[in-house]
């Protein structure tokens, strides 16, 4: 694509105004999904069009952008979105989490605590947390309006009755500011606790479903759970083979056809920082 002839950050000003108004309402009603006139982007639906539209609406010439997919800056989808903004907005991009003012993400929250000068933009495939229980938008709207979330708890509890635990491992529903039940996007539940009282503003964009929603800084975000079955995150017995981290989300990498595995940080920037600071893992199987 030749970017000349397009407006700053691709979207026209009228579209940006519409999305900006939606974002302001989203911040004012934490966890509520604001419908917006999502545009057709030059990237396919399901590949981050919602996140891209949110980023395009907030980004300015002074911003420093980081894009991650699965926690990594070098996955093709992250590379592709980063080069889209480098081309259409000419902004500085970075792989260093702490240098970024805007972080667009798919499926992870960085391991380092985000700060007040940062905004994290999540790409969301299915914004409606009740969708798997009730497929109709007309119904789920009512359930949100009336705070009728009993059915959600029943669903989770059926899991407990059958398996002795909640089996949802990612896209684990949360309750925002003790009001709206919200989809955190398909992040692993490992990342859910990071959303609670975060210093940074959290914005969520769903392009295909045409919804934006938000969590303001310092807002309570609770993962749904039960007194006798409190929410728990994933743990590993292993440490990162590259940086020896024992506190980060680890990806399993298969290293030979006998199924030998090693574990490495999913957050590539966190892992590199630790390696540069002198932390050394066991290097994985030889």
């Amino acid at each position: 694509m030749n970017a000349t002839g397009y407006n700053f950050a691709y979207l026209d000003e009228q579209t940006k105004r519409m999305i900006r108004r939606a974002i302001l309402k989203a911040v004012a009603i934490p966890g509520y999904q604001v419908p917006f006139g999502g545009r057709e982007m030059p990237l396919p639906y399901g590949w981050g069009t919602g996140g891209i539209q949110v980023t395009a609406s907030i980004i300015g010439a002074d911003d420093v952008l980081k894009v991650i997919d699965q926690g990594a800056d070098d996955t093709t989808n992250a590379v592709n979105i980063r080069r889209f903004f480098a081309k259409t907005a000419g902004v500085t991009t970075t792989e260093h989490t702490t240098d970024a003012t805007i972080i667009q993400t798919r499926h992870r929250i960085p391991e380092v605590l985000l700060s007040a000068h940062q905004t994290i933009v999540y790409q969301v495939p299915t914004p409606e947390p009740l969708r798997w229980i009730e497929p109709r938008e007309a119904e789920t709207r009512k359930m949100h309006a009336l705070t009728e979330y009993g059915i959600m708890h029943v669903g989770l509890y059926e899991d407990i009755a059958r398996f002795g635990r909640v089996t949802t491992s990612y896209n684990y529903p949360v309750r925002v500011n003790a009001r709206y039940v919200m989809s955190p996007s398909p992040i692993p539940k490992f990342d859910n606790p990071k959303m609670d009282q975060m210093d940074a503003l959290q914005l969520f964009g769903a392009g295909r479903e045409k919804r934006v929603y938000a969590i303001p800084p310092h807002t309570s975000v609770e993962s749904l759970d039960f007194e006798d079955h409190p929410f728990q995150i994933e743990t590993w017995e292993e440490r990162c083979a590259l940086c020896d981290a024992d506190d980060s989300f680890l990806d399993e990498v298969i290293t030979d056809d006998a199924g030998t595995r090693m574990h490495v940080c999913s957050d590539s920037d966190y892992c590199r920082d630790r390696q540069e600071a002198g932390h050394v893992g066991d290097g994985g199987p030889e």
């Binding site: 396919p44 639906y45 699965q70 070098d74 398996f163 491992s169 045409k210």
Partner: protein, 363 residues
Amino acid sequence: MYVAVKGGETAIENAEKLLAEERRGNPDVPEISLEQISEQLSLSVDRVMAEGSLHDRKLASLAIKQARGDLVEAIFLLRAYRTTLPRFGASEPLDTAQMAIQRRVSATFKDLPGGQILGPSFDYTHRLLDFDLAENGAMPEPAPEADTPVDATMPRVADLLGEEGLIEREIPNDQDAGEPLDLTRDAARFPLDRATRMQGLARGDEGFLLSLGYSTQRGYGRNHPFAGEIRLGEASVEFIPEELGFAIEIADITVTECQMVNRFQGSDEIPAQFTRGYGLVFGHNERKAMSAALVDRALRAEELGEATDAPAQDQEFVLSHADNVEASGFVQHLKLPHYVDFQSELITVRALRAEALDKQAAE
């Protein structure tokens, strides 16, 4: 020692180069021109314009060329271009009774004012591969011209029934409501009114609508359709610029219109009569126009007090899944890495298995 994969940007650039090579194919074969696509693959161009919601033969031809003939990909290209165009307003409704007719058939009357006009149609062709076509160069024999030109005004069949009160009156949407909602600019809010539903159907995937229309014929929401009329021709598009205050003609476009006539049992308020299902598409595409008309009528089930238990009668189901650019993107996004979520699933499944095996061992 394990080294993480790098070089995503180079990989993407190389993939683009490979794709361009594949698109061109064997360089010894002459390159196809947009004119050739527009003239000789005209029905592909029609479909791409219709589902791309942009009437521009040249751009649609370019999209088809760029997409290597993949029409859904071409529709996506055209849509992504369309979205950057400024919107000046809404045109006046098309008056299809005034259109320059190329083809017009009715299944409900043997003959009717204006006559049946077969026009260019695959309908009665024998589907035998024409090996003469394989040898380029032969010009088709010119079709003979009729002795009398077709009538300038052709009443629509459904309107003829209206004289007797046998068919429902078509009441335009609330005139005071202003311009209809634009599905490409505003988020849909269910339930949608009929005008908005029709927009969704006009942009909807032909194959999806064909299957849904077919399902109503097979008993999933049966609604007794007759093809009241199918017409193909050129209609004028009129627009009222704010500064002029009167309509000016801005284009003539080829459209296919289908009016289905469906029996309605009647209700407490309305005696038995015929109702309509309506389909209109850019270009020549009877399959799509007829399918849209069947689905439009099926989606009116609730309004007419009929049972609504079939997929084609469920507007959220139909309209949330009819768009092939949305569907294609979301189905194919499964190609993107999901290894973080998969890792979480691995942990959960391993834990569930360990608990189950422990339990078995204890028993």
